[in-house]
Symmetry: C2
Subunit: 332 residues, 2 copies
DNA sequence: AAATATGATGGAATCGTTTCCATGAACATG
DNA sequence: CATGTTCATGGAAACGATTCCATCATATTT
């Protein structure tokens, strides 16, 4: 009842040729027209599918693409993954997905898994530092980072959104509206953005207003609520991701801060619900899907030499969550 | 410069034993304590990782789990995927992800890919009918459906949210509030829900109020806007998914229908932004993550006989998007 | 002490594919 | 006609693991 898979040998026998010939025909090698036709017919009749297992073992590579993301639940990473899948599909490559939870240890574990699987291409939003990523490079895997870099690993190409420009535009916009006490609500791996934030803010920078949450919703909410309570004098917030933005809106509502009257809010990453919010959220849109697609392109068309990194533009989408600094909230 | 992977042979040589012994030690077979220790030490020293390629070929199975979802961008499926990943990780199994876009043809293509990869377990939110899924069963793959069934494939175990109860509760709630003209805004593969909807509504059912969108956001918006314009007399809507709910909110806003005064809205699937909306959306919560986790459990612990299907509870979360039917909107 | 059971061990076969190489036929060129 | 070239073809060797089976040493039983 549990019949064997049809193998290349079966096809060869049925077509009256050798296995080598079948392999050649199927992978586009040279063969006489009549042989080619016969083999193809037989293969179709038997519904033959070459086993990737055999092939991979022989050619020492498992073709697949590893994709390591902090959290597939976050729509940003969802869109990124979608981009990767789109590109991978057109290349016929399978994608192996792993969620790191922004935990270097889990990331290392997943890298080990990919190595075992013989995957030879990886796209990752890295959580760990350069050390974590040493194994993939040592094993000769084509590695591409997406969305952010790993500390001390500038030898890996990356596809990034232009965070610098995004942060600068947002800060300029807020200061232009008269805001002076501007907070940054950050997440894991946003060192680069922070340095630009400080730089753009210049003399206005207030380290007490720069806070950082871990990856989870709970942590984001706790940090946002803590910030708002500790510093009722702040008038604007830049949230470094949609989870952080969500937390900010929730915390503001909980503390009866009206947006944008009491608090101006800009969020990194444009998500569908930003428009549904009231007021609709002003955001810095990032081309999440493109990031994924381009990363997949890089990792697939990896030539002999290391490809250059890619920087994709961000865009400030002005909606309704920012207002000129009015009469300062009376801190009571 | 591009050195070879360390193989089992290298370990065997370095430890002065045969490859068979190494294999036994590493997979928990019998071996004398001193040999075991020596092999383990050497393996650790050489940083040896057994290649999944070799193993899989030998045992004719690639251990991995295939996961086929309509759209990884949809947070519902994102959470589902997260559940699968969580369970797969604890079992050390890789997950191969594919996005079907709710297109049976693409689904069939992806199934073919999984078959080629030698994957022997699949979790899917099926788009196609029973015919599409014949190949996986014929090939002996352990298959489990999640979130919905494939028409004419009742021989595949499934993990479902209790849609029937969800729809019934929602309809009862709306009729209890006095609503009579209730619309259903559906998506692909919701036949079951529709039948329950009709049944629960009884004599009140109005086929013109039952509409269906394809998977995309655009399609959802178009259908919602069309419905609201065509039937200004409806007073309540049940949206069959978060994309549909989003579209409904957007379309209502565009047409100046105030929620809940002019229009009561219930959405399937509780998402974080449902609370951020104004008014906050009343939803039918589905345990997306659990669905994924349980499906992975089923597919992993698949014994000799087919496991039973699982039905998980839904919950009506009353927030602010439903109101008693007031003075009917004056259709002008 | 002889016979038998037990357990550790390594050689070799196997999985399904690709690819190297040798063979032989057909054809062109001298 | 002899020789060299091209081309289709099939046999066999990889690839890296697992696993069957035979071998041999040691321990147990009579």
């Amino acid at each position: 009842m549990n019949m064997r898979r049809t193998t290349i040998k079966d096809v060869a026998e049925a077509a009256g040729v050798g296995v080598a010939t079948v392999s050649r025909v199927l992978s586009g090698g040279s063969a006489s027209p009549e042989t080619r036709e016969r083999v193809l017919t037989v293969a179709a009749q038997l519904d033959y599918r070459p086993s990737a297992l055999g092939r991979n073992l022989r050619q020492q590579r498992s073709g697949g693409i590893g994709l390591l993301l902090p959290d597939i639940t976050d729509t940003f990473y969802g869109r990124l993954a979608d981009g990767v899948l789109a590109c991978a599909r057109s290349a016929g490559e399978p994608v192996i997905l792993g969620a790191t939870g922004d935990d270097p240890e889990r990331e290392a574990e997943l890298i080990g898994m990919l190595l075992e699987q013989g995957v030879d291409r990886v796209i990752a939003v890295p959580s760990g530092d350069g050390e974590t990523w040493a194994p993939t490079l040592r094993a000769g895997l084509t590695t591409v980072f997406a969305h952010r870099l790993a500390a001390g690993r500038d030898d890996v190409p990356a596809v990034l959104a232009d965070d610098r420009a995004g942060v600068r535009t947002a800060v300029d916009y807020l200061t232009g509206l008269g805001h002076r006490r501007i907070a940054y609500l950050g997440g894991p791996g946003q060192e680069q953005r922070l340095s630009v934030f400080r730089q753009a803010l210049g003399a206005l920078v207030d380290e007490d207003l720069i806070v950082s949450a871990r990856g989870s919703r709970d942590s984001a909410y706790a940090v946002a609520a803590g910030l708002f309570q500790r510093r009722p004098d702040l008038t604007a917030v830049l949230a470094g991701g949609n989870l952080l933005g969500e937390a900010a809106v929730l915390a503001a509502r909980e503390l009866d801060l009206r947006v944008p009257r009491d608090l101006s809010l800009i969020m990194f990453d444009d998500v569908p619900w930003a428009e549904l919010c009231s007021p609709p959220l002003t955001v810095i849109a990032q081309p999440a899907q493109d990031i994924g697609y381009r990363a997949a392109e890089l990792v697939l068309r990896a030539g002999p030499r290391r490809p250059r990194s890619v920087l994709l533009p961000t865009e400030l989408m002005v909606r309704g969550s920012c207002a000129p600094r009015g009469i300062s909230r009376s801190p009571r």
